[in-house]
Symmetry: C2
């Protein structure tokens, strides 16, 4: 809390809020968040809960009245608060949560209740100790009608920190990490709040108990409300990339310093000189750069007021999932690469690992997010078809057939040209082809099931693993493209050449991991598979020589990195 | 320490020591260790350091005199001690460590010294608080001759726990896990111990300063001494399998209990019914059974007095590496499969993860162990050739050619028979073929380099990643074979059928992970690749239905598992 206060005093809490209360600069807010991600992840989460989730939902779901009343106090941390969405029984299924707020016309109030024990709010940051006000996600019942999930402001503690009547709070106790965050559970027992407590940007109730919303479809309304909170996922994903950068900075610097294992009593080589050592670090360094550029693009889309919101949400879901998995995998590789030194708390890798662990299941469970992403891909695929007239469909089918011919052509099939497989255009073509194939076959599998009488929802569940593969294929393609276009924007030739090598390595890592699929689908021959492995190996060697410069380019301040084994000499 | 005392009081500390002091039952010692691995890993490590590493090295490197003097006190924990091998500057390169013991004929003593700061003993369990006596690995210098690394007993604290003169000890402080173990650093400054302190089973010094050993070659002597300590690696690997079992028991039980995410307000399915959920747990369950059986075989070989020691060491190195990586990967999958519940400390998965983390780099860094394994495979490969006469070589080459023909034959290439790809014989044949190919091509790569003038040691370094692949190929083959033979020994038909399905799944997981390689080497067609994926997916579904029984069969006592979300109902 004290550290968060320091950041608030610097004005960082107000970055994303609309004027006049804030700087209306969500891009800078995400940048601040990503920078904190290099250091302490409890602080990061505390910061994100207060200014992002709690304050952000007031900013985005409330109206001017709420902004005027709360945003300054939230952004200065004078009013610590909670984002009370998750329930014990409904971790990833927010639409079906059970907390209920019933409008009482007699008193012009909402009455908020936790109807069952599984409906308690769970894992709520700031709840166990510091929060005074909570944005509570609850069903809204007016008269006989359940209007679905809405957000309501409910005070939970008074100014002295005493829990208010009707509120029960329990500490989540020790977690695997992030123990600087006071997560807790909240129960509501007929807690009354005035009608104005409803965050009413998308729906309101008037004094006669008339419910009104510009979005009549309850599902669309719900998803619109939830969609405005996309910044959370983007921020967590961007912070995950920061953690990966920190871990790699530590491990790569150590590998350039630590000597090990030479012939008895003779020379001992630097760790980075061992192929088996750099094999673990260098491809992950390339991937981290790739995610860096992918998040740059995602954040640009986020701050673009004219952007496609549905698309943004899908990309954020997919990138958050794969970037957080990548971060965990990278921290662990870095930890092992530093041996016992990496296991000492003072060198920070184990805390990073323990804290970032939960990134994979909070702000949306990663496995669930892959399905969201896949659904968006299917929607786009369907729209593509629906918008086509007969000529368009014919042209599409012709294109598919032509591309099938290309697959079979000996030129592509048997490329053994290492500069071809390293080129951005060839790599992107492979990933585009794979993505298109995966999405199309996903659509076909679902279609077959539905035609055979399976319910659509059930059909989608049956193809979940294929859907996740399609989502991964999309994210990998988008990420490689982002990397390639970033390289194209670099003026300095030496820097461009160096980063292009890194992009080539990343593209080959991606393709290499799926060589079974590419060969199975007749897209690559055994000979090209071999040349890919070989080229990959020599790129790892080449990039290793530049790796110290590549991690130093992350420019993580020493006092933020704070790991003795990685201190500059 | 208190918990370790309880186990010592039960007689578990003495299981492996020779009679009359112990039960001469190393198999039971490993079994006890594996059982403790289901519960607290700090206790496991404390137990292993005291009775395994410290006591075990007295038992295996000392003579009857040392046994009589120490083993009873070590096994009862009356004498807590350390295994002081690792030095800060020499983590994985024990042969080159720098601590030195010089024989002083005048006083008939050894003088033990830490010559440089990098030569301090580091990460020594029991050192920071409890240890009183240490087995110190040190160069032995007699007269002008450095005889290489030997083990000497050096007292480090008196009976009151006061650190002795000449000894400096520093706590390693907080680690990423295992904080129940008091790891520390030790420096020696001209510490004098009597000549009899040398553990002299393999080498001795007489009162005239005459050094004597039955193994004249210093390298062979060193590796023989180190080889007797193979039990440590076997124990850690077996315990890693225990941890994987615990993690899966928790996650699979939770998946059979937790409902999630059905269509709005309608039914909610059990987590285990979601393909994307079981995909993460079920193949890892199959792999855990596979490692279970592989370690059964390894432990049998370990307790067999007539066994091949070199082979045992190689198998232990390889299996320890892959089993510990498997454990980490499995704990993490289990943690994510339990969502936020899995992140609560009370449910134990995060502590398992944090504690088991270091399994991958202690008792031999895993990456280094893969290289040890590969070197053993190369030695075997060379011996195979050397022992052949001309007829043998001709027969071998004929066999290779015949097997190449089989590869190319349409029958194997295009098998789309799901029962064939599920069969033990077909799966094992694939893994044997791959292993043979990998080892042979590894040998060829090294040969080519040496013929081109590269030093052998350097040549081996250049092919490290290929060597690791060969080691993995070997371990995967051995593990699958162990699984298949265990299934063959089961009498009960229903149990055999169920486990054979699990074996089939594991074999397909292994092959599926390397479909790129199999296709690249002309061993499988795209069509067989497809049938493998499809069969794998349906086996995951079938095994999921039996998965609760399969984890309950691990029979981990409730009070040992101790995770509320996994409690039997």
């Amino acid at each position: 809390l004290r550290w968060t206060q320091t950041l608030a005093d610097e004005g960082l809490g107000l970055l994303s809020y609309p004027e006049p209360h804030g700087s209306a600069d969500p891009g800078s807010f995400v940048a601040a968040f990503a920078m904190i991600g290099h250091h302490d992840l409890s602080l990061l989460t505390k910061f994100g809960v207060q200014f992002g989730l709690f304050g952000g939902s007031i900013a985005r779901l409330g109206s001017a009245r709420h902004h005027d009343e709360y945003l300054a106090a939230v952004g200065s941390l004078a009013l610590p608060g909670c984002f009370a969405m998750t329930e014990t029984g409904h971790g990833s299924n927010v639409r079906d949560l059970e907390t209920v707020a019933v409008y009482d016309e007699a008193t012009d109030e909402f009455v908020v209740t936790t109807p069952t024990d599984l409906a308690r709010k769970d894992y709520i940051g700031n709840a166990a100790v510091h929060g005074r006000l909570a944005v509570v996600f609850t069903r809204l019942v007016v008269g006989d009608t359940d209007h679905g999930v809405h957000a309501i402001l409910v005070p939970i503690r008074d100014e002295d920190g005493t829990v208010l009547p009707g509120i029960t709070i329990e500490d989540n106790s020790e977690k695997g990490g992030l123990n600087g965050v006071d997560n807790g559970r909240i129960w509501f027992e007929e807690v009354r709040v005035p009608r104005g407590a409803l965050l009413d940007r998308f729906a309101s109730v008037d004094e006669h108990g008339e419910y009104d919303s510009d979005i009549p479809n309850p599902d669309r309304r719900f998803f619109t409300m939830i969609g405005t909170l996309v910044g959370g996922r983007i921020s967590v994903g961007a912070a995950a990339v920061s953690v990966a950068k920190s871990a790699l900075t530590i491990a790569v610097r150590y590998a350039h310093r630590r000597r090990q294992f030479g012939p008895a009593r003779g020379f001992e080589s630097l760790l980075i000189e061992y192929p088996i050592h750099r094999q673990e670090l260098i491809p992950r360094l390339a991937a981290t750069y790739a995610y860096h550029f992918a998040f740059e693009e995602l954040i640009d889309a986020y701050v673009d007021p004219g952007g496609d919101q549905r698309r943004l949400e899908a990309e954020a879901a997919g990138l958050k999932a794969y970037a957080t998995w990548h971060a965990l995998d990278t921290i662990q590789a870095a930890r092992e690469a530093c041996g016992g030194q990496g296991y000492l708390a003072v060198n920070r890798l184990t805390a990073m690992r323990a804290d970032a662990d939960v990134f994979t299941t909070y702000e949306g469970d990663n496995k669930v997010l892959t399905q969201l992403m896949a659904k968006a891909l299917l929607t786009e695929f369907r729209q593509q078809f629906e918008s086509m007239n007969a000529t368009g469909v014919a042209r599409y089918l012709f294109h598919r057939a032509a591309s099938a011919l290309t697959e079979a052509s000996p030129v592509t099939m048997s490329t053994t040209d290492s500069s071809q497989v390293s080129s951005a255009s060839w790599q992107i073509e492979q990933l585009r082809w794979r993505e298109a194939h995966l999405v199309e076959s996903l659509a076909q599998r679902i279609k077959r099931r539905i035609e055979a009488g399976t319910e659509p929802a059930e059909a989608f569940i049956e193809v979940q693993t294929h859907a996740a593969t399609a989502a991964a294929g999309h994210v990998e393609r988008v990420t490689l493209e982002a990397f390639a276009s970033a390289v194209g924007r670099i003026d300095d030739e030496a820097a461009r050449r160096s980063l292009d090598k890194l992009r080539a390595l990343h593209g080959l890592s991606t393709i290499q991991a799926d060589l079974g699929w590419f060969q199975e689908h007749g897209r690559m021959s055994g000979a090209s598979s071999r040349v890919i492995r070989k080229t990959h190996e020599s790129l790892v060697r080449e990039v290793a020589d530049e790796s110290l410069a590549l991690v130093n380019a992350f420019a993580i301040p020493e006092q933020v990195l704070a790991a003795p084994i990685a201190a500059s000499q």
